[in-house]
Structure formats: structure tokens, C-alpha cells
């Protein structure tokens, strides 16, 4: 019990340290690397929370693929952050303080963490837990909820991913075709 708490505290403190480091670092390549460490630490945290599916995704997408995409972007744009002269501004500080205070105040109304009688646990979750094995005969409830009970949502997610890919392809994926067209016209 004590050890589990220690792991939680260690991971959360580590996350906070990484976030501060991310804010302060000017070298974008290092920032990307640290972002990868952040994702990996988040994945460990999800694993501690017994959310293996989420940890899986975070480790593969957050720590792996998005880092590579950012590195590819850096290869195009350059690795130094533009130095902007910073002036102390009062209004943003006030807005941030008020928002933070409101959020902290709102925390008081949240149900206690991980209690069985929380609203999230008594709505449709019991139905899934009790009926999933009977209705779908699939041991992994996460899969049966995602693919069957919430199949329509997952269809939407797949369409979002597809749209994102097509959007990127349309925005920046046409350079080579334009170039080859130019070359062709030059050879004529």
C-alpha cells in the first residue's frame, strides 16, 4: 500500500518537474525529447491506474509517433526557438489566477477519487460489467464497450483520424507532385 503511494507520488512529481523543464527549455530538439519522457511517464501513470489500453496508446502514440512527427517538423523548420522579449503583463496574470482559483474551488464539489458510489460508476458502468460477458462473450470489457456498445462513437473517431490524415495530405503533401509537374514542363 505504502509502496503504491510512493510510486504515485514519484510519477506525479516527475510529471510536474518535466512540465516545468518543458516550459523553460529553449532548444526545441531537447523539448521534443522531454515531451517524449513526459508521455512515457504518463503511460506509467495510466498503467498504475490499471488502464492498460490507455497506457498502450500513450506509449505508442505519445512517446513514439508524435515525437517522430515533431522531429520531422523540426527538420523542416529549425531547432531554435525564436527569442521574444518578455514584458510583465498584469491582465493575463489576473485572468490565469482567477481561472485557477475557480478550478480549485470546483474541485471541492468533485466526488472522492475512486469511490464505488460515484456518479460515473453507477450510471451505465454496472450494466456493461454485468452484461458484457453475457451479450458479447468478450473478456475485455474495454473492447466490447468501444467496438460494440459505443460503436458509433468509435466510427466517429476513425473518421476523425482519416480526416486528419487527408487534411495533412492535402495541405502539405502536394509539393512533390507540383515539383515533378514543373520539371516536366521544363523538359518540354
Amino acid at each position: 500500500m505504502m509502496l503504491a503511494h510512493l510510486i504515485d507520488i514519484f510519477l506525479l512529481v516527475f510529471l510536474a518537474v518535466i512540465s516545468v523543464a518543458l516550459l523553460r527549455i529553449k532548444d526545441l530538439l531537447t523539448a521534443v525529447m522531454i515531451f517524449g519522457i513526459y508521455s512515457l511517464t504518463s503511460a506509467s501513470l495510466f498503467m498504475v491506474l490499471a488502464a492498460a489500453d490507455v497506457a498502450f496508446t500513450e506509449a505508442a502514440v505519445g512517446a513514439g509517433i508524435s515525437i517522430i512527427l515533431m522531429l520531422a517538423t523540426l527538420a523542416i523548420t529549425g531547432r531554435e526557438e525564436k527569442i521574444v522579449e518578455r514584458k510583465f503583463k498584469l491582465l493575463p496574470l489576473i485572468i490565469v489566477s482567477i481561472t485557477g482559483a475557480t478550478l480549485l474551488y470546483g474541485i471541492r464539489d468533485l466526488p472522492p477519487f475512486g469511490v464505488a458510489s460515484n456518479p460515473a460508476q453507477v450510471h451505465v458502468a454496472p450494466r456493461y460489467i454485468e452484461q458484457s460477458a453475457v451479450e458479447t462473450d468478450i473478456p475485455n470489457i474495454v473492447t466490447s464497450v468501444l467496438a460494440s456498445y459505443r460503436g458509433f462513437d468509435t466510427l466517429g473517431e476513425v473518421v476523425v483520424i482519416f480526416t486528419a490524415g487527408i487534411g495533412v495530405a492535402l495541405l502539405i503533401g502536394r509539393r512533390r507532385r507540383l515539383l515533378t509537374a514543373k520539371e516536366a514542363s521544363r523538359h518540354e
Binding site: 517522430i68 520531422a72 474495454v142 468501444l146 460503436g151 473517431e157
Partner: protein, 140 residues
């Protein structure tokens, strides 16, 4: 990356296992953690490693950008196709119970096929994004 001999050898050795693990996560998602999205991401990692080690030009000889576009559309089509199939068989959209004589078998078929569609789209879209970015960075 012409000089990184060790990275290349180890990477070449690693890629088949990464992809095999992706397929395992894909088709074992009903029983353990994982599913189409995770499997697609892991499978795409195989191509990511290949692009990092051998350059996007040699990766494009394996999977071309046009092919990836077709596959990412195909994944959505497979998913929505299951929904349309269940409509035609007399159920609601994406109600897998009607896909087979027995509702539980129907659920199994529906979930496997739908997850396969998710995996196709995720794997091909991630690889597509990487290839496009990598191509843009190439001096040409």
C-alpha cells in the same frame, strides 16, 4: 544515416517483431489489453523505424503514399460497411447481433471486423503523415 551500421542491423531485426506484436494486439484485443487503435499505432511504428533508418524514399518503395491513402479510406469503409451490413440484415446501424444466426457470434464477427477497420485506418494514416513530413524535409 548511412554510417549507423549497428542501428540499421538492430532495427532491421526489430521491425518484424514490432509488426508481429501489432498484429497480436490487433487480433488479441478481445481478450487482453489492446485493439484496433493501439495495434495500428504499433504496426505503424514498424514503418516509422524503417523510415528513420533507411530514409523515406526506400520506405515509399514498400508502401507508396497513394496506397496508404487508399488503405486509410478502406478502413473507414470497412467499419461503416459493417454498419450498413447490419442495416441490410434488418438490425440497427452497427447492431452486430444480426450479423450471424447467433447474436454472440454476430458480436464476435462485428467486433473483429470493426477493429480491423480501425487498425487499417490508424496504421495507414500514421504512416502517411510521417511519409508526407519526411518527404517535405528532403532536399530536392
Amino acid at each position: 544515416m548511412n554510417d549507423h551500421l549497428i542501428l540499421r542491423v538492430v532495427g532491421k531485426f526489430l521491425i518484424p517483431y514490432v509488426m508481429l506484436f501489432g498484429l497480436y494486439v490487433q487480433f488479441h484485443g478481445d481478450f487482453g489489453p489492446g485493439g484496433g487503435f493501439q495495434a495500428g499505432a504499433i504496426f505503424a511504428c514498424g514503418f516509422v523505424i524503417h523510415t528513420l533508418l533507411f530514409g523515406s524514399r526506400s520506405t515509399e518503395q514498400i508502401v507508396s503514399i497513394g496506397f496508404l491513402r487508399v488503405i486509410s479510406a478502406l478502413g473507414v469503409l470497412v467499419y461503416a460497411g459493417v454498419g450498413v451490413a447490419s442495416l441490410l440484415l434488418g438490425g440497427e446501424f452497427l447492431n452486430y447481433n444480426v450479423l450471424a444466426a447467433d447474436p454472440i457470434t454476430g458480436q464476435h464477427i462485428g467486433i473483429i471486423v470493426v477493429e480491423f477497420g480501425v487498425g487499417l485506418t490508424v496504421a495507414s494514416t500514421i504512416t502517411l503523415l510521417l511519409m508526407i513530413f519526411a518527404e517535405r524535409g528532403l532536399p530536392s
